[in-house]
Subunit: 329 residues, 6 copies
């Protein structure tokens, strides 16, 4: 998809104020050399946000005198590896260092956490459920990043639009509470929601999860796709044994087509635990482990000015070699 | 200031898709009870984002049949303490649970981290420098939250606008690199930038910090406000002893009015180290410790429906007492 | 109560064989001095088993030339503190060192573990439930020791007889499984079991604990004394929040007289957790933490022979002073 | 050997009282289905006590309508592996769940600890010396379990009878103290004790162990089988170097046939230390590491009633497959 | 006492070669400013070696134009505290920086370790026994430093001469081995060694320590001053209980005037253990804990040249204030 | 080289006083058997000091009736391995046990630490710089030991003489401070110091290390051999990145022949860090890690007297086999 920069980004409102001042000074002094700037992350992970960054650069860099080299969205990157190199007249992009770093930082943090879950889960799909744990201004970008990291779907509507996926989600506890009974809510869902959307019953609201699973399976029969286990921590959370028991009781009652979806406090360690214990899970819903992932800080360094190698103390002057970079502008 | 919800939030695009479906089902079934929902954080901290949440609720709740109770922006909150209670017809706000939780989660995470730095720093001001480490869509909200948490200023222009503070920042290494010399860059800054903005020279770009500090002090004399130490990790970072030495050398040369501002990899532990060692720091610039703070997850639970106590398994039915809550709508 | 030694103990069958041989040699050599032997534990704890030990000594020591000094059953003892001193012709008791140490070791181990639970539980009664985790030959002695340690009751019939307490217990899961429903089992219990025995319903067999609690309360009304929570580890065990929720739901439905009894994997740490979190528990059932307690090893040392101080290498010759000892024989 | 249940076990006196009540209720209600119960341990180890359990079941189960499946005494078992399955009319065995679990728990705990020592000791025999650290009611069963676990002999007379082994033991410190000299005691032992029993001199009572070893070797010559080192902790315990030194001094003096037996505070780690350091030990005497081993808790679960799969919450309904089980009744 | 520098020190042979070259260059260039040099340790401790350092400075500094300020031998010093300040024409002392630092480093390391033992031992005297663990060239200086640190005596003859104390020592194991018996060796010692020297018998060579103690006490009676326990690690070392037992056995036999001296692997932790356990020790002999103490590194920095403050990077220019310094030259 | 014992060693002044007394007693009693004494270290390492020990033995042992067996200087030795065996009339060497152990202890401690650095550094040379951290009486012996351990050179003049190496060293900070500028000092060095000695400029005194490196390279051109980085801890010490950056900046400016020498707080871990990170270091200068190494304690035991095996308690009587020993006297 196309990432187009917002007005606030373009006019520099989201920038650190000192870049605005730097631009004022350089213009007043009439200084505008061709500068080579390199960006690198402070830890290894999955690169995400580079498409949005390129969208911004495309808009602001002059057609001539500009080169941009980058890794691709979703590629693995090493700590300190240069993943973006910009060579252009400095006044054209001085104002955007803050935004460029920020896009990469947040996106790569989310994609990296998602990738770790996806790898832990092996063949079992992981869905991003964390929209509720980040500000709505970035909820869709978080879900986009999670899908870049390998998630099969996400719960936010705008995230699904950005990634051209079907938004994923079952029903909230509130629907069941408001309707007063899990079976009643599931039947209403089945009645009013288009056929194309899977019937997934949430089974921990009122009754024992195993008992409720059997009740909804009996009510919907072959129309029931999955049940979702989301037992809260106050009740011990979803355990490996609970999944095995619900699977066994569903099978014993003949409902072997009903899948089991697990959510609630999942992280890489918990997913690994389910996998290594052989719990018959058909899907994992991961929330704040992905959405709350720490951004990966990026640094932007000048390495050449008008063709001369230069660097601040602590860095190596001159262009840093990285054969993985491809010219994109 | 006024927080007005964006179009994407209002039309439900940033919501988890299952709330949209829930709304469809309830409308189809004609169910719309008055529901009491309570929100609480999963760990203690500083509440932030509640003003934005109230801005959204004001827009969507019906004038009658609605009550909202809340703690105030910036107040301390305990883990699991109810900080927002909404009593209203359920269809009016069902769609906004995702956004409400997200606003509180991100804002409170940032404000809590900022508060920890501010408390560690005692009387010495802390400035939020982390805009470059978050997506530009939330950079200003991050800086707003940092200031709610106690920071004296922030570096993003929009964050400064939101908080009606003067944006803070010195000069980037890139200005010095492009101009080729720290003294030259500082003189240009002094020449072109309004008097109202303090002259802060960044002194670790080309030469030894102590040597460069004396050079810029000699060049600007009484017009120099501060120097900023930002030594990179590759060179050992800013140490307690470096601050003491630069202070001593400045004083020995007669520049006792020049303040010392420290930045680079600061966190609560590092700030405490500077304070306990008696380093003569006049200001701390904190970046990713605040901007990369983990959001504080919030949970929204239904506790009453049409006046009857109810709750899902694991939660206590009925309204939760909290005398600190004040009615705000 | 009176502890009388069994035939196997009296004829030396339970002794280490070398004591039998020692007796043979001493008799053959005609050696039988008056020996002072002292027993001490290798760690601090609660003394238990001394009454049984005295029962044995009373039976075997000659009326004249014998003195026995001891602490009392249930007293605290320090590591290495002499808690029993025997002065008598050596042939009369040489054969019983193994049995005397063993009675004290096992009994004191159990009583010490029980005391730790009782102290952690404060005012809330602790019941010994561990008979199933020790050999039936010592189940009653284990329960006796638990009560010496401070437990209010025990579950084994013979343990209750030994301690002249009412045996305590609710109903096993097997009764409910065999009868097919918790309510049905509880009603049958109420119908056939004497009035003097409290009605305690076990509520985690088939349905959600909170739901089942309300069902049995509705069925028995004021006749229901308590419910017991014994949720298995596979379902997350009994949590603090589960107790609070069941209490709240019972109270909300008007069953405030129904007490809550907790069991399942309890130890000192878990009991402290319930207490410190303010969980409304009315009784704790402790099993293998008490019954599986490590015995406290006792050592028996000779310190005088015919009035002369003596000791093996590593020990101090002569009688060890301990003003807490009282002469009992 | 044959394990016959005691009267207290058979009449239910050692049972948890609620099984007695369960039996009363079921009889009153006329309920007696054929129930399949399975027993499994909560950790892996060596199964012991199953012969005694089968002895009890043989006595109480009806000839028809009963099946029992089990692993064999001494077999390794996994955590949660079903090691005993009983299918019979429930009233016939309801009363014995406590006793069955207790026999298995204590026996398997002891056998498992013994096995660990035996494996650590490699080819060097391990003797069970812990009778003095358990109640005399179970001392023989403890020694029986130790031998099932791999010990070559035990010190209690009754334990030796149960296992048809020769009871093992040297002489106590008390014999030496009463006789006043190690050499004198050893000569008396040699004079009065049958030839078939090995002469093992305990050498740490009065003098340096090396000096005493040479004295007893000189006194008994070829009649001396072994010396036993049992240095108390107050004197640093038996060290690897002490064993090597005593061996060297014995050999230097020509007593190379005298074996060295080590005891005192031995556990798996200490045995491994002696083995890995090449200490010339000819036998290990292990006491409280085996006798104080924590029982292995067993759980008994109903999985079928009259052929229908059933289970309490947290367990899987239906018979658990285990091809290692053999039908024994 | 007077410390006079050796010829090798005075002619610069023990110096780092670059100081010799520095002197050559400065002489060739005719540069010889008055320089203020300060020395400080890199950790806190007890200052020792300063008298020897002053002896060297007295020899080499010119009478005029020189000032020396110092703390006193044996004073406590803080980490980084200036403990010696030299102001003199630089050529006069440039060559001795290596030697001055070295004298202070080794001496202060030993004195600091000794002080820690002395403080742990409270009223009980500590003797320095470590001469055998350092090169004989510094054995006497090590013992001198130990006495500055608080030891009451030392074992090396030259160390005793330097400190004007009586050299301390009992007898080596070799005397006893060569004479074949502890009692015989002790009697020979008593016969040939002057009355003024205490009779201390070493009692762990051939026999059990308690037995040997009684034998030498019987042989020398009131002439025996002490016994020394030095049990090797192979036999478990000297334990608290061994000291208590030997004391008890000596007292029981009427030899209450005989003192107990402990040595062998002592360090601060072991001394504290003896003290806190109330072991009746009358003296501690400490070897490699003192003699093997890590030297305390000292740094020598120039802070003024011809009255102008100066310092290398990382240090503060100008004289460092320390009111504890006293002018000594 | 020849190690000849000093007068103080020969006349016994550095001995523990009890050896002097032992000699007095043995002479008075006329006892002088041929004794076999063995020395072994208490931990593994590199043997050093044995040549000096042999020098002493050669001087004192009688020509006949004496044998000495030893490992060679610089050989690896195991913990408790006999590395020196002396068989001679006891009076001839009784007085020297203290000195012999001390020579081996200190020397082997230093050589062992040096070997560890040398092994960590691989092909890169290590220079001993620690003379300033030990007493000048042993500075040369420390440097000798470091070279036995594998160092390529040392800084003390006398150490270089002992090892027939060229003393190594650059220039001290004090030369630069006194001359006021690094370039001026380096030029003076180049002017006055013989051609045969390498020009190594110390570059952290006044200016940024990278800047200063370029200045001295420009001043001396091809005559400059190396620069030395010795950044103090107050400025973050020498980091891997600093070395890489200085290398890159030197190369970029065309000074690729200039080597980089690193010093300051180096130990095995730091050296490994530089090596594993690929820092382009050409030499390591190690100070207190080598010079402050703990001496390796040696024990001297008598194992034979006049051909009869003997030993004190805790040791094995008779000569200990060690085929690695070679007869040297």
């Amino acid at each position: 998809m196309e990432h187009t920069p917002s007005k606030d980004i373009l006019n520099g409102n989201t920038a650190d104020v000192y870049f605005m001042r730097t631009l004022d000074i350089l213009k007043a002094e009439g200084i505008n050399p061709v500068v080579t700037m390199e960006l690198f992350p402070n830890r290894h992970g999955v690169l995400c946000g580079v498409n949005e960054a390129l969208g911004l650069l495309k808009t602001v860099l002059p057609a001539s005198d500009s080169e941009v080299w980058a890794l691709e969205e979703g590629e693995a990157m090493e700590s300190k590896e240069v993943i973006l190199r910009i060579k252009a007249p400095y006044q054209s992009f001085a104002l955007y260092e803050t935004a460029l770093c920020g896009m990469l930082a947040h996106g790569s943090g989310w994609a990296t956490a998602a990738r770790a879950c996806v790898e832990a889960a092996g063949n079992i799909p992981v869905i991003s459920f964390g929209a509720r744990h980040v500000h709505p201004n970035v909820a869709a970008i978080m879900d986009y990043s999670a899908i870049i990291g390998g998630c099969k779907a996400c719960s936010s509507i705008l995230g699904a639009v950005m990634t051209q996926t079907a938004p994923s989600g079952t029903m909230p506890h509130s629907l069941i509470l408001v309707m007063g009974d899990t079976v009643r809510a599931t039947i209403a869902f089945d009645k009013h929601i288009p056929e194309s959307i899977g019937r997934v019953a949430l089974v921990d609201t009122f009754k024992d999860e195993a008992e409720e699973s059997l009740r909804v399976a009996e009510a919907l029969g072959k129309r029931l796709g999955s049940i979702r286990l989301d037992t809260p921590a106050e009740r011990g959370g979803v355990t490996v044994d609970l999944v095995k028991e619900v699977r066994a009781r569903l099978d014993l009652a003949g409902y072997n087509w009903v899948k089991i979806f697990v959510s609630g406090g999942l992280d890489v360690e918990r997913i690994k635990l389910f996998i290594s214990a052989g719990a018959p899970v058909d899907g994992f819903g991961v929330g704040s482990f992905i959405s709350g992932a720490r951004p990966i800080d990026f640094t932007a360094d000048i390495h050449e000015i008008d063709g001369r190698p230069i660097a601040k103390r602590g860095r190596i002057p001159g262009v840093t070699k990285n054969p993985r970079l491809k010219r994109v502008l």
